[in-house]
Symmetry: C2
């Protein structure tokens, strides 16, 4: 009678670029999920902020962030690292903490993908406008004339409005649109091994996903 084990179990692998493409894709998916989970655990356990962006082999960007990657995006888009104690930041955190205690990774990621796609498109659209009015970020500032600055100012106003609108979307999203996230008591979901841990006083997790601004200028 054969005593062959059903599988050979986990095998040790060398940490070097995986050659087989199909294999690489599988490993990427699994490990990315694992990495995001670890990040969320660290964030929750120690109450710290984490932002992470991972580009897939196909150059698609996946992100994780606590309290949200959106705030990182805003830092990008507004061009200045806003003080962590700024009103906006506080507001976002407060609303989140008050309403969202824990999110399921997979479900949220999927839902956010939709939202993020729209967001991305809109923002890129605005940025293209800024760019069209003057590719000022890349060009030496010295070369800008005053009237060009005025032109730029107009474009920036537009961009600011767009960003503001998106902040609003973020807030709305955090507070009301995801009923299953709003309160304690979420049970087993998908293939999660145990029911979700309820974090009764600390910060929320936030998984998000957005495409990267490929080429603006």
């Amino acid at each position: 009678m054969v005593n062959r084990k059903p599988t050979m179990g986990r095998q040790r692998i060398k940490i070097e670029k995986i050659a087989k493409k199909s294999h690489l894709q599988v490993t990427f998916s699994k490990r990315r999920a694992g990495l995001f989970k670890k990040a969320s655990e660290l964030s929750t356990l120690c109450g710290v902020d984490i932002a992470m962006i991972v580009f897939s082999p196909a150059q698609k960007a996946f992100s994780f962030g606590h309290p949200s990657v959106d705030s990182m995006m805003l830092r990008f888009l507004t061009g200045s690292p806003p003080p962590p104690s700024s009103g906006l930041h506080q507001l976002i955190e407060t609303r989140r903490d008050a309403n969202v205690h824990e999110q399921n990774m997979q479900l949220t990621q999927t839902l956010n993908q939709l939202e993020a796609e729209k967001k991305k498109g809109e923002v890129l659209d605005q940025m293209r406008k800024v760019d069209r009015s003057q590719c000022c970020w890349e060009a030496p500032i010295e070369e800008l004339e005053l009237h060009e600055l005025e032109q730029l100012r107009g474009a920036l106003e537009e961009l600011k409005k767009t960003v503001a609108k998106q902040v609003n979307n973020i807030l709305i999203q955090s507070t009301s649109s995801l009923p299953f996230l709003a309160v304690n008591g979420v049970g087993e979901v998908g293939n999660l091994e145990t029911k979700l841990e309820i974090d009764n006083a600390s910060a929320a997790l936030h998984f998000n996903n957005f495409g990267y601004a490929q080429k603006i200028c």
Copy 2:
């Protein structure tokens, strides 16, 4: 005779904020290291770019990035998401790939801390100047007068120069200043369990550490 086991081994913990502060600190250190290791493995295994920033409980920022967090910093500092295919980005990547195949996590992190501290100080200094000339990023753009824009322009020029200088530093750092990173063959270092895997054709890892711009305006 007592048959008590020497330790009770790893215990299951709830994923919620750790109450005991000393305990939290230990967990943070360990898990942060683990997270960075996982990130570097994913980066190497799948040949993808990853950027990550983790704030410690004491608000100190730790970062990991491939090919470098510096490029992320530049995106922040220059205020525009530069196209991934921009000349600068390409140049950085090319030089890195050509010269650095693998870096040791611990050693690099330590070395970069020094560099990053200087960098941080210098940049913050410039930003303070920008801020002093006009706290424009937070104020509605509409309220800016033209002469204020000119003033701001001057400050931005300075900031740009600083950033440019730092880009240069990054390039220099990548190409010449770290002899032990330049080629294959690094052996056991510190408490790493096995000798470093040599990644003979793929991208370099880069661990970095920098303080966060706390409050500019």
